[in-house]
Every structure is written in C-alpha cells, then in structure tokens.
Amino acid sequence: MKLDSMYQEIILDHYRNPHHKGLRDAYGAEVHHINPTCGDEVTLRVHLTDPQRGEDALVRDVSYESAGCSISQASASVMSDLVIGKSVAEALKVGDAFLELMQSKGEAEGDEDVLEDAVAFAGVSKFPARVKCALLSWMAFKDAAAQALATTTKETEQ
C-alpha cells in the first residue's frame, strides 16, 4: 500500500517519541520557521562548541519546539539525532544528502551510511505536498547554524 511507503514504522516511532525535543537554555542562535501552506511550525536552537572554528565547530546540541504533522515532527527528531556531535560542515553535508533524497520524486533510496534513519523518508519524496514538511526542520537547522557561526559572541559556557 502506497501509504506505508510514506508512514514507515520508523517515522511513526520518531513521531510518537521524538528525540531531543524541548528548548534548552544553552544556544548560539534561535530561529522560527513555518510552512505556511499547512501551518507546521518549528522554533529551533543550535548550540555550537568553539563557533570561532567556523564550519569545523561541533554541533553540541539542537533543541526545538514544534507543532505540525507526523512527517515534520519525525523529521525534526531524526535530524537532531543526525547532526548532534557532528561538525557543522558534516551536518550540512548530511542535510544536502537529505535534500537530494527529498527532491528525488521517489527515485532515490538514500545512502543509509550517511542518512541513517532519515532514509525512511524516501517514500515521502513521492508526495510533493509533504516534501516541505520533511524539510522544515532541516532548513531551520541550516539557518540557525549559519546564524550561530555569525554571532559567536552570544555563545554561552562550554
């Protein structure tokens, strides 16, 4: 059934029990992104270690509050799992791979070594109306990481 290709069990698991959810105090930048067609919203904070190192800085934490559909919620959970502990450059590279998967119109499977749980979203790329839901938190992360690098002075304790 077509529906199962989108709502993979792994996606529903992340939706029911999201990882890293909730806003935490230590952060370098906070962004608010919305998906105006459906009302999905995310407020997302990025906390970097040594932001003066630029894209070599480590993503120490990603915290977020979000409201929206299962796809956008699960995607935020999977994204935060994937980027925490990586350098900004590595995290953005994973984001690029995810974007490519989402733009594949169901043709790509995704590299599990790079995308891990995020390969479960391959089926979502067949549903044009839902691709933006899956990308929302990734776009928010990209934006917040860039802002955190640009405003290193806001960085709190290590």
Partner: protein, 419 residues
C-alpha cells in the same frame, strides 16, 4: 421537495471514478471546488465546438451567437440572485477578483465613497484571505483604518460591540455570508442595518452561500455581493460581482482595456456603461456559458431543495462526527444557521492531536477527499489556538453514506497513528 441524490450523482461523471488502488471516490471537498455536472461540461464543449467567437465585436453570425450566449449567461445569473437590473451583474475571474475590484475602486474613488485618513473599514475575523488582504491593501494605501468584528467561542460573530465598531466613520463593512472554515451562516440583516444606519457600504462574500442557499440580493440588502462559479457546479475562471447600479455607475473603473471604453482619445477616454465598464479585455466567454448552465442546473433542482438537502446532510454529519471520540468541531456544533462545511480536529489517546495533514493523507488512501490546512482563514486558526483543521464539505451530490465513510475513515486514522 427532497432531492433525488442518486439521480443527481449520475449527472457528475467524476463521481464514477476510482482513486488510488480502486477505491470509490468520496468527495467531501466541495467548499474548495465543487464537481461539475455533464450539463456544464457539455455547454462549454458545445460552445467551443459550435459557437465560439469574440463577443460584442463582430457583425458575423458566430459573433452574434457567442454574444447572445455570453449575455444570456448574465441574464441567468441576474435571475438566480434576483438582481433588479441585469447590468448590475459584472463577470470577473473569481470571488477574489470581484472583492479586489470593490476594494480597489473604493480606494481610488473621490467623495463621497472614497477611502481616506479618518475613514474606517470593518471586516471580520472569519473572512477568507480574499476578503482580508484586498482591504489591508486599500486601507494601507488610502490611510483608512481597518477594524475587525471578532468571534465567539462557539464560532459565531461576536456582535456585542457592533454599534461601537461600525461607527460614524465607517465607510465600508465587508463580511462573509457563510464562513468557508467554520461553516457559520452570519446574520447579515443585523450587520446591514447597522452599516446602512451610519451610511456605510456593505460588501458580502457569498462564495460559500451562493452554491447552497437561495441568494436574493434584494432581500439581503447589501451593496455588493461577490461569488465564484467553480464552487457552484460551474467552471473555474469565472466569478460574479453584483453591485447596485448607482454605485457602479459612479465609482471609477477597475481594469482598463478593450470593451470597457466609450471613446478613446490621446487626451483621455470615456467609459462604457455598466456592466461592460468593469469587463476589460476578452472575458472568459466559455466559462460564463458554463456558469449559465450551472445556474440552470441549480435552478432546476430548486435552491430551496438544495438548501434542505444540505441542511439534512450537515445535521447528520454534525451528529455522526460528534460521536467520534477525540473529535472536536471547530465552529457551530448545531445545524442552525450552518452552511455546508464542517471543520474539526482529531485527537488520539496517548499521542494527542493528529495533524490534519496526516488525517487527510490517511483518508485519501481510503478514497476520501477532504481539505486540510488553514483554509485561507489563518486568523480563525489563531483565534481557536489550532495549527490547522480538517474540513469536510458538501454539495447537492453528497450522501449520508459518504458521511458514514468519513466517520469510518476517521476511526481508521486513529488506529493508524495510535501507539
């Protein structure tokens, strides 16, 4: 007389088709756009096959036939809404264009109608974006003030401050007849009376009432009424603005171009009499013909019968939906003064609210088409503290069995997402 819905359904070819992996289509999205009967499709196809030409421009046979069909559609629409004068019926692209027309020309007009600093425009919190944004644009440009009638907790207009809100400075009151998201049928008589007491012009968005209940512009008492063809069994690309002749005659033109002029000189131009003053360029002729056929179809059914059928469907749907555990109706809970649309949210134990996008996606898998999202009425979602809703909406061809299918579908949605 009650409608023979099974017979009506035979007129709509699309209701025969299957969706997904062979599921019967359950179309509950008529408030977004209704389906079209064979009579409308045939009228447009015959027009192109046999009668097409430009209108009002030629002396040849086809030009005369096309003109007669186009102007004939205007006569049909005028009769459908009981307009006192056929020339008060202006064809537009849709309701949005009709409302933009009114908002724009009221912004441009001089005294006594024109908007300026110190003037007020009153709209409501339940308007579709197409009856919000044009007024934001025109008040921002003219320096007039925009004020809002708010909503009660049960999804109706809060009229407790009507007299303060519609004050002596108010020049325009723009209000929706039936809300596209809440389904609320508004008490326009009270609003029109107050507005006219202070000399304000009343603009009614009838997009969600014209397809469903008898619409009599004389009884309504408003000054402008806008509606669109594609929600009332007609084609896309054609809408209607009805306005009082004395206003349309005095207000400035909207779009300039061919056919809307009297004489064009290098120094300036004079304008055609209404309705053509407001119909610049080649109009959507086939679409007007299609709308005429849709009006014929609805008139043959009888709008009182249509209203009765849909009231029965709405009553049944409200009752059935409220039996679904975790379902919350957004808008009036009872069928009195209720249009043919119902919005709701759905919760499942242990998980909380299932987002409307997920509800809609899993319903779609079962062949059930609903609308999900903010329905171009974001202020309503903000008012009720919800990100979006799922909306089921009905038309002449909607059956109780389809409501049952929706209810079963929603139970499946809950099982699908439940932990």
């Amino acid at each position: 007389m009650s409608l023979d819905v099974e017979l009506i359904r035979k007129d709509f070819p699309i209701l025969e088709r299957k969706v997904g992996d062979g599921k019967a289509l359950v179309y509950l999205d008529s408030a977004a756009s209704s389906q079209k009967p064979r009579q409308v499709i045939d009228a447009m196809s015959d027009y192109y096959a046999l009668h097409h030409s430009n209108v009002h421009r030629g002396v040849h046979a086809l030009a005369e036939e096309a003109t007669a069909l186009y102007e004939g559609a205007r006569d049909k629409v005028a009769a459908f809404i009981n307009a006192p004068d056929r020339n008060e019926v202006i064809f537009t692209k849709n309701s949005s264009e009709a409302l933009n027309l009114v908002a724009s020309v009221l912004g441009w007009a001089g005294e006594p109608y024109g908007l300026g600093p110190g003037d007020r425009v009153v709209i409501t919190q339940m308007e579709h974006h197409s009856n919000i944004v044009p007024w934001q644009l025109t008040t921002q440009r003219s320096g007039a003030e925009l004020a809002w009638l708010k909503l009660t907790d049960d999804g109706r207009l809060d009229l407790s401050d009507l007299d303060e809100l519609i004050n002596e400075n108010t020049k325009v009151v723009a209000v929706v007849h039936v809300s596209n998201i809440l389904g609320t049928l508004n008490p326009l008589d009270v609003i029109v009376r107050r507005a006219h007491d202070v000399g304000a012009i009343v603009v009614v968005d009838a997009s969600q009432s014209a397809p469903h209940i008898p619409l009599d512009v004389q009884a309504l008492g408003a000054d402008f009424v806008a509606f669109t063809g594609h929600k009332m069994l007609g084609p896309t690309g054609i809408g209607v603005l009805w306005g009082r002749a004395e206003l349309l005659n005095e207000l400035p033109p909207f779009l300039g171009g061919g056919e809307m002029v009297g004489t064009v000189d290098m120094e300036g131009s004079t304008y055609a009499p209404i309705p053509h003053k407001y119909e610049a360029g080649t109009m959507p002729i086939a679409e007007a013909v299609g709308l005429g056929a849709a009006v014929d179809y609805l008139t043959a059914l009888g709008m009182a019968n249509v209203a009765e059928h849909e009231h029965e469907i709405v009553s049944y749907a409200l009752e059935r939906l409220q039996s679904v555990e975790g379902l919350r109706i957004i808008g009036p809970q009872t069928p009195e003064a209720h249009g043919a649309a119902i919005s709701f949210t759905l919760e499942v134990a242990g998980l909380g609210e299932i987002h409307p996008h997920d509800v809609g996606q899993v319903l779609d898998e079962q062949g059930i088409a609903v609308r999900v999202g903010q329905h171009c009425a974001r202020p309503v979602c903000v008012r009720y503290g919800i990100p979006a809703t799922t909306r089921a909406s009905f038309s002449v061809y909607t059956t109780k069995a389809e409501i049952d299918a929706l209810v079963e579908g929603l139970e499946y949605v809950k099982r699908f997402f439940g932990a």
